[in-house]
Symmetry: C2
């Protein structure tokens, strides 16, 4: 198909498609003349993936390109490494670079330990958890063990579901794509479900 049809079917504008090709997110079409290229279903599929990661996943174009390079790459990381790689490429979320006190880190470690999670001392994930916990406490939110442990249980459950899911995917391309998409979009899904559940629970408890 021509670029105009690709644009129409994908809902992505022609300039944006050209931009993705220039930036290396989308493979070139097959040249049919010096100024015209032919695109196929693989381009449509790729544009859907890019759209999911950027628009719904909230990733930057640069972070998306990095993740796509992992999917495309010759290097096939171990499944265990892949999730870590993906998490690292994902925008680290707000709060990067702020300093975290030893006390905050100890509180995060204590929570992780209660749930049997092994946490690297230099891990950015550990710092992020400590930072979020400190922000909650600094805002006058008392972090009770019941609340924290309940959240950690819920998070642990989703992590097990993700790993079960990935282990059921048989081909390697599928695994790579699943981990990247599931890691990024799974977070949005969980947030979205939590909001719906909160609103529904509010109505159940308080009417209206």
């Amino acid at each position: 198909m021509r670029i105009s049809e690709l644009s129409e079917r994908s809902g992505v504008s022609v300039p944006t498609i050209k931009y993705y090709v220039r930036e290396g997110l989308l493979h070139r079409g097959e040249l049919t003349s010096p100024n015209q290229a032919r695109y196929d279903e693989s381009h449509l599929d790729r544009l859907r993936l890019i759209g999911a990661l950027t628009e719904v996943g909230g990733l930057s174009v640069a972070a998306t390109r990095d993740l796509l390079q992992v999917i495309d790459g010759d290097q096939r990381p171990e499944l265990g490494d892949l999730m870590g790689l993906t998490l690292k490429r994902v925008d680290g979320g707000p709060g990067d670079g702020g300093d975290v006190s030893e006390e905050d880190l100890a509180a995060a470690d204590a929570l992780a330990e209660r749930h049997g999670w092994h946490v690297h001392p230099g891990s950015a994930l550990r710092e992020e958890l400590a930072r979020v916990m400190a922000a909650l406490e600094g805002s006058g939110f008392e972090l009770t063990p019941e609340w924290l442990d309940g959240y950690a249980d819920a998070a642990g459950q989703t992590a097990r579901l993700d790993h079960d899911y990935v282990e059921g995917v048989t081909n390697l391309d599928g695994v790579l794509r699943t981990v990247v998409v599931g890691t990024v979009l799974g977070e949005r899904l969980l947030a979205s479900l939590r909001r719906l559940a909160q609103a529904s629970e509010a109505r159940r408890r308080h009417g209206g």
Copy 2:
């Protein structure tokens, strides 16, 4: 204390403090001369809350001001409404305004119904869920009932924890603040815990 001390103790720069005062996020200090004001612990406390919502919660200054107005306002919303109000003021997340098909909405409704959640037909939360589910599917992620229901169970658990927590808070100011902070930062906490749990689960299953 003077503004310089407030800046030092809060870690917020003097120009930013002045900006927050101009924008109505922070109450003015008590004037001790035409060019000098005195600040107290209430300003420090407020700056911590602003920092938590903007830096860790990822809210814009405008969204933060809106939420602070709910906390400060004379109108005391019903607890049931408050969470909805908070969710509405929070940046709706990526994907706003994109269109969602009836089929995607039906898939979201089916999931909500399986979990006994009551969802308003015109709700932005319903659209967001439908959009995220469609993005996952469009990226080649097969939404199995086990995975989806497991995620919904985890989300439902956090919603119940939040409501239990709020019901244990006795004064109204505390309730307002708790709902706002818990809604915004609870989402970051859950995302952060999920990442840690994923990384830990990867190591548990695949070594390393």
